[in-house]
């Protein structure tokens, strides 16, 4: 193979350019390695700072704030659970038919049920009483219990269970 000086010059210049590319590749590799180490050190230093501040955060001052915040959140929840029982009694009172009276009134929060032990002088009044509770918008269901007639007094004892809406 014969080469002219011109060809030789072209080959040399091309080789030089390729060498520069290779140098740049090596430089990029080295640069990336150094940058990676720098990033690792920075991250480690920040982690150490985070750990210090984290220990500060877990201190008494935060506990005090958190305790108050918990009480605020809990108060919001509990105030919603409070009920004025007098409203229930008023709803029962408003629906009591003439000729009926209560022997006992029992409210159970777990079932939101009022159980009434009532007295009446005839079955017609009992029927009216049940209808009256059914017509009340305060109760979602009305269940009649057992009735017992006292032959001596002619008074009928009966129980009613009312579910609050």
């Amino acid at each position: 193979m014969t080469t002219t000086p011109k060809t030789e010059k072209l080959v040399e210049s091309g080789t030089l350019k390729l060498m520069s590319v290779l140098f740049l590749v090596i430089l990029a590799y080295g640069g990336l390695m150094l940058y990676g180490n720098f990033l690792t050190k920075e991250t480690e230093s920040l982690k150490a700072q985070y750990t210090d501040q984290h220990a500060n955060f877990m201190g008494e001052a935060t506990k005090k704030v958190m305790d108050f915040q918990n009480r605020l959140v809990l108060s919001r929840e509990l105030i919603g659970q409070e009920r004025n029982i007098n409203k229930d009694i008023d709803a029962v009172r408003a629906a009591i038919s003439k000729g009926t009276y209560l022997a006992s009134y029992k409210y159970d929060e777990a079932t939101r049920t009022i159980t009434l032990d009532c007295y009446s002088d005839n079955y017609g009044t009992i029927a009216k009483q049940i209808l009256s509770f059914k017509n009340s918008s305060y109760f979602s269901s009305v269940s009649m219990g057992e009735t017992k007639l006292d032959p001596k007094t002619n008074v009928i004892n009966f129980s009613i269970s009312l579910k609050i809406k």
Binding site: E12, V21, L22, L32, M66
Partner: protein
């Protein structure tokens, strides 16, 4: 010349090899390339900055709390730090007497199933994200069984007083029943048995990493609307108990 001609493709191959197996993995390899390290650093910077901001908010909230003694009292009266059973007895007795009702019984108990705080497991610092669900704190309960005797009207006032008491209480059971006189005729007086629940929250909360993202530390302010609500709806004070005279020569004799 032949060598010079071979050098060029060798450099190209070497450059490509270095690029594929050296430079690119050093830039990103999915684990510890410069790109991943940069992302980790940015995440750490963000976490540290947000923690520092939260710490600033803790200081702000601490002084806000110290400067609002009345709001603090409202909340600590509503949910005390201990069961304060002596106050429960004192105040139930006081309210019954105030409303001309005879106290038949006041007894207190604590249910066994409310001994622990219900919390979700703590996450590591690296998994913190804004909007993490808030841990649910469960209060302890003190159950009071309270029985009184007297008129229907006075009992209604007592029930109203209980609903306006500045300490949280909830009626779980209520029983009102008519009574009979000695001649077996109906008495105007009734007997009322009430099952009351008084809640309290011990100051033994254990902070976890989750709390860093609690709304109060993110926002740096307490939402005190509930304080106004309690002030507006509650006007029956919770009296303190005074120790009175103490000490005796014979503890088996009434002084």
């Amino acid at each position: 010349m032949k060598l010079k001609l071979l050098l060029a493709p060798s450099i190209i191959i070497l450059s490509i090899v270095l690029l594929i197996w050296g430079v690119y993995p050093a830039y990103t390899n999915g684990i510890d390339g410069a790109k991943e390290k940069y992302q980790a650093l940015e995440k750490q910077k963000e976490m540290t900055a947000s923690l520092l901001a939260r710490l600033d908010n803790v200081k702000k909230l601490g002084s806000a709390l110290d400067n609002d003694a009345s709001g603090k009292n409202v909340i600590f009266n509503y949910i005390p730090q201990s069961k304060e059973d002596e106050k429960v007895i004192e105040n139930l007795n006081f309210l019954a007497m105030k409303n001309s009702l005879a106290v038949l019984n006041i007894s207190l108990s604590e249910p066994v199933d409310t001994l622990a705080l219900a919390t979700t497991p703590a996450n590591g610092a690296s998994s913190q994200t804004a909007g993490t669900p808030v841990k649910k704190v469960t209060p302890k309960k003190l159950i009071a069984n309270f029985s009184v005797f007297g008129s229907y009207e006075n009992m209604r006032v007592l029930l109203d007083n209980l609903s306006k008491m500045k300490r949280f209480n909830k009626i779980s059971i209520l029983e009102m029943k008519s009574t009979r006189k000695e001649d077996q005729s109906l008495s105007e007086n009734l007997q009322m048995n009430i099952g009351l629940e008084f809640d309290y929250l011990l100051n033994n909360y254990n902070l976890t990493d989750e709390d860093i993202n609690n709304d109060v530390f993110v926002g740096g302010a307490f939402d005190k609307k509930i304080v106004d609500e309690i002030v507006k709806s509650k006007n029956v004070d919770v009296n303190n108990v005074l120790p009175g005279e103490i000490g005796t020569n014979n503890p088996f004799l009434l002084q």
